[in-house]
């Protein structure tokens, strides 16, 4: 009996302590941010969207290799000798046309692994988070600024140059070979004469 009364008393006491706590909170201002009207400022390093300064990209594909989910797809074409693609803002010379630089943000897991390897700091996470889309395809961000015509032109040029190079190489090889053959035949002659 005494125990029951004691227990009832502690029950009431603890219930009222709890209710005191909630009453204090009832009178406190709330912590809610009313989202579209009020926004929390994201810290500067927040990871919410990938962005590429394509002018600074040298096409080294290090980010593509670092990505654990393969959401970055890069294709490059070597620049021909007659064009100078200039330098990046960090002073690295650019040697490749970036024909494709696609980032599939629907695959991206925001791990930030692609950012540190970049030698020119052209790929980075930006604190922008309102980019929902109804169509998944719209989440494929294409950063390459080359037009389709330009790409084919560049590719053809590069191929031509490549062919030229190949041909020159072959020619050189043939010449070399011929020279060698010539020499050996001469040497043989010498031997036979001797």
């Amino acid at each position: 009996m005494v125990q029951t009364l004691k227990k009832s008393w502690t029950t009431f006491k603890t219930i009222f302590t709890g209710m005191g706590v909630t009453m204090r909170h009832l009178l406190q201002p709330s912590v809610t941010l009313r989202y579209p009207e009020e926004r929390d400022e994201l810290p500067s390093g927040a990871r919410s969207k990938l962005f590429v300064h394509i002018d600074d990209c040298i096409g080294c594909k290090l980010c593509e290799r670092a990505c654990p989910v393969n959401c970055i797809a890069i294709e490059t074409v070597q620049a021909t000798k007659d064009v100078d693609l200039g330098k990046t803002s960090t002073g690295n010379p650019k040697r490749f046309w970036i024909t494709t630089f696609n980032i599939d943000m629907s695959k991206c897991m925001y791990c930030d692994m692609c950012v540190p390897p970049c030698p020119t700091e052209c790929i980075s996470m930006v604190p922008e988070y309102e980019y929902s889309e109804y169509d998944r395809n719209n989440l494929l961000f294409q950063f390459s600024e080359l037009s389709a015509d330009k790409v084919t032109e560049v590719k053809e040029k590069a191929e031509k140059e490549q062919e030229e190079k190949q041909r020159k190489k072959k020619e050189a090889a043939r010449k070399k070979k011929a020279q060698k053959a010539d020499q050996t035949s001469k040497a043989k002659q010498k031997n036979s004469e001797g």
């Binding site: 029951t4 209710m19 909630t22 009832l26 809610t32 009313r34």
Partner: protein, 331 residues
């Protein structure tokens, strides 16, 4: 025609109150939890949120589970609401308005509210869902058990008041005579009635199944208990009835212990309209306390609930009843 208007007034009141109370509950819970709650619909603090919700619920598809007992399933919410609505007919809203001033008002009210149990079991059984069934069984046990302490504490009041007519009970509590300034409310007339009130309050919390006694619909164990399979407006009516039930029992408490429509300042600020306002304020105060408790406390387990009822509340209410009777005989 006049009669019809007379009869639909409480219905409008209940619906209006339920819309307000659901909004209030959301606001109270939100501010207790340092949130804001609904803020957009209607402008000022989302006052139209529940109206919008109701419109949405009406539009929703009426889903009945395949193996449900269709007739019982469909009618359960209406039985529940009808029971709460019928009980309002003997509540004296003000000195000028009471649905039916019958001389067995308290008895009628307690009898009609027992129907609530029936409808909850109907819904639970008819859903053909195991969670619902568990919830329904819990409800049956809980509501039947808690009717005993409720009735015992109501009985204690009746000993002091000497009438079963709620209008008469209200009328006898007007004026400020006790100790020269306290209103003539029954709770001040007999010290043991304070104990009776505490028991009554605990019991009505249990009867309207609110936290810490919300076992029939405990969402984290039984998903939603007897409401699991309900959707759309049928679920909405369950909700409406639940809030109506809460108000009904709170108003009963106001009549029995806190003077009904009697003004706390004697004849000052009294009259039919003020009476109505005082009455609703008293009722809403209880409702607010119930909400406040709900958002503070965890929930009891079903056997603990029964233990509290049968080992604490019922013996105490019996002893208290005897003490009140003795007090009345001596003074």
């Amino acid at each position: 025609m006049a009669l019809l208007i007379f009869a639909t007034l409480p219905l409008l009141l209940i619906v209006g109150y339920a819309l307000f109370a659901i909004w209030l509950e959301r606001k109270v819970s939100a501010h207790i939890q340092d949130r804001l709650g609904p803020m957009r619909v209607g402008g000022w603090h989302g006052w139209a949120q529940t109206i919008a919700d109701m419109l949405k619920l009406i539009q929703k598809e009426d889903i009945i589970p395949t193996n449900a007992s269709r007739f019982l399933f469909k009618s359960a919410p209406f039985v529940l609401f009808a029971a709460s609505y019928a009980a309002f007919s003997v509540i004296p809203f003000s000195s000028a308005y009471i649905g039916s001033s019958i001389n067995i008002g308290v008895f009628y009210l307690l009898a009609v509210t027992s129907l609530l149990t029936l409808s909850v079991i109907m819904g639970a059984w008819a859903s053909n869902n195991k969670w619902s069934l568990l919830g329904g069984m819990r409800t049956a046990a809980q509501m039947v058990s808690y009717e005993v302490p409720t009735i015992m504490s109501v009985l204690s009041v009746l000993v002091v008041a000497g009438s079963l007519n709620l209008m008469t009970i209200s009328e006898m509590q007007t004026g400020n005579d006790i100790l020269g300034f306290l209103p003539n409310w029954l709770i001040f007339q007999n010290p043991f009635l304070i104990v009776a009130f505490i028991i009554f309050f605990i019991s009505i919390v249990a009867e309207s199944h609110r936290v810490p006694f919300d076992l029939p619909e405990s969402e984290s164990e039984l998903v939603a208990g007897f409401q699991t399979e309900y959707s759309g407006m049928r679920w909405g009516i369950f909700m409406l009835a639940e809030y109506a039930d809460m108000l009904l029992l709170s108003l009963l408490g106001a009549v029995l212990f806190f003077g009904g429509w009697a003004s706390p300042f004697g004849s000052y600020l009294s009259g039919p309209v003020w009476g109505f306002i005082w009455f609703m304020l008293k009722g809403l105060l209880f409702v607010f306390v119930m909400m406040w408790m709900r958002w503070t406390l965890p929930r009891y387990r079903v056997d603990q609930l029964m233990e509290i009822c049968w080992t604490i509340l019922i013996p105490v209410s019996f002893i208290n009843f005897v003490l009140i009777a003795l007090w009345e005989m001596t003074f």
